[in-house]
């Protein structure tokens, strides 16, 4: 695990963390970050919460400071997913996508927030993010709309089974 060592305050790069992140889709993009801060000025989360700063998050990723990124109640969930940083980054780092890769690592560690678990749970039940409710089709009928179309959950659940035959994560 990466850390600032106690004796002389030197930051040591945690390559194991960085390799794990690189396994995630678009997880390795932070390597191209040159810390210009273009992502910060346009970040609505930074505007309202100084604790959230995409440039600092990218710096921590470059060092592999796992303890500061992947704890419970991680600051990463404050990202508004507005994609402003993706738009601004001159290096095409896509900070929001790096943050999403980090969130995938949080989820692997069982540290996703309840809101995320709720969405997945609902989806696993009916293939939608809105729970089933007889009132839905009644409302639809008022507008002359047919009932919601069924989702073939057998297909969906097969797709979501983990890949045992393959090495590496998502």
């Amino acid at each position: 695990m990466a850390s600032r060592s106690d004796d002389n305050d030197i930051v040591r790069v945690d390559f194991a963390f960085k390799r794990e992140l690189a396994q995630k889709i678009e997880g390795n993009l932070a390597n191209f970050c040159y810390q210009c801060g273009a992502c910060v000025g346009d970040c609505p989360a930074t505007r309202y919460s100084p604790a959230f700063n995409p440039r600092e998050i990218m710096l921590k990723v470059l060092y592999g400071l796992e303890a500061e990124l992947l704890g419970p109640d991680s600051v990463l969930w404050q990202c508004t997913n507005c994609y402003g940083c993706h738009e601004r980054c001159p290096q095409e780092v896509k900070p929001v996508e790096v943050i999403i890769s980090l969130k995938n690592m949080l989820a692997d560690r069982g540290l996703a927030p309840p809101a995320a678990d709720k969405v997945i749970q609902t989806f696993m039940g009916n293939g939608r993010t809105v729970p089933d409710n007889p009132a839905i089709d009644k409302q639809r009928a008022k507008f002359g709309l047919p009932p919601l179309r069924p989702v073939p959950m057998d297909e969906i659940l097969v797709l979501l089974e983990p890949e045992i035959e393959e090495a590496g994560g998502s």
Binding site: A45, S49, F123, R128, L145, V151, V158, L159, L160
Partner: protein, 293 residues
């Protein structure tokens, strides 16, 4: 009539059927034939589902795209979230290695993603395939004098390299679509701000919505026009919450663009489901009174 596969997503068909009704009522008048997709699931959700497992997210999204590929049709969406998921999937799966990984999973159910169906948000579909002039011609009661504040939301525009919709720093599409109805679009000062729905927690979204609603109200607009059902929720129930929390008189009714279009095309006010909104766009009723005279 040009045929397009309709990807309705979850929120509009389940929570806002009035919006779906409006889409099904307006598009045929613009020469677009809606083809329903059998077996479509949630897009899936570009926030939490993607945060949990991006590969599964891509796989489920790719499966949805194959449904349109089977029909040989391009796909249109009515929700910015669905647009984000499906557009990004289309974009990312141009990478052969990633496409192979996803197709490896899709093979479990005998499907293959080929990348042959383009994805478009309904607003861009109307702009590019119908054109503003034909929208204008379809209007039966021009909404002259109606001031419509604009909320673009984030995922219609950004990331622009993926979405390929409009310039995110100075977008035009919603303004032009509003003008085609005879109404006056109003760009309030915080027009670019995010609705905050995808942010976990209360503090950031509450402050952000407060700032957004403040500049919306400075413009004294009749309604707030938008094209995303998630943003809509933030501006309907959410607006009430923020008004109470900050003790402010925020009350601009949000309206989904295609309901406004349906109304301008002559669909009666009471058929458009506005009674279910916290803030009802009653300013529209004066156009019915004019027509009745």
């Amino acid at each position: 009539m040009t045929r397009y596969a309709f990807f309705p997503g979850c929120l509009i068909p389940a929570r806002h059927p009035a919006m779906e009704f409006a889409i099904r009522s307006t598009l045929p008048k613009l020469g677009i034939e809606i083809v329903d997709l059998d077996g479509a699931s949630c897009c899936p959700d570009p926030i939490y589902f993607k945060s949990k497992d991006k590969l599964s997210w891509l796989t489920v999204a790719a499966r949805n795209l194959t449904l349109a590929e089977d029909l040989g049709l391009d796909i249109f969406t009515n929700c910015s979230g669905c647009t984000a998921t499906l557009s990004e999937t289309y974009h990312l799966l141009q990478d052969e290695e990633l496409r192979d990984r996803v197709n490896h999973r899709l093979a479990r159910i005998g499907r293959e993603y080929r990348g042959t169906s383009r994805v478009r948000h309904i607003a861009t579909l109307v702009r590019d395939e119908v054109g503003y002039e034909k929208v204008r011609e379809s209007v039966e009661r021009p909404l002259e004098g109606l001031r419509v504040a604009i909320h673009y939301g984030c995922h219609l525009l950004k990331p622009s390299r993926v979405m390929q919709v409009d310039n995110p720093d100075d977008p035009q599409v919603l303004e032009r679509l509003i003008e085609a109805l005879g109404a006056t679009p109003v760009r309030h000062r915080n027009w670019y701000l995010c609705c905050g729905k995808a942010c976990d927690g209360e503090e950031i979204p509450n402050q952000m919505m407060h700032d957004l609603l403040t500049t919306v109200h400075q413009e004294k607009a009749d309604v707030l026009g938008m094209i995303c059902p998630t943003c809509f929720g933030q501006f309907d129930h959410g607006q009430m919450k923020i008004a109470k929390l900050f003790d402010e008189d925020f009350h601009t009714p949000p309206i989904y663009y295609f309901q406004l279009l349906a109304f301008a095309q002559g669909v009666p006010y009471e058929k458009l489901g506005f009674e279910r909104q916290r803030f009802k766009p009653t300013a529209l009723q004066r156009y019915e009174e004019v027509a009745a005279k």
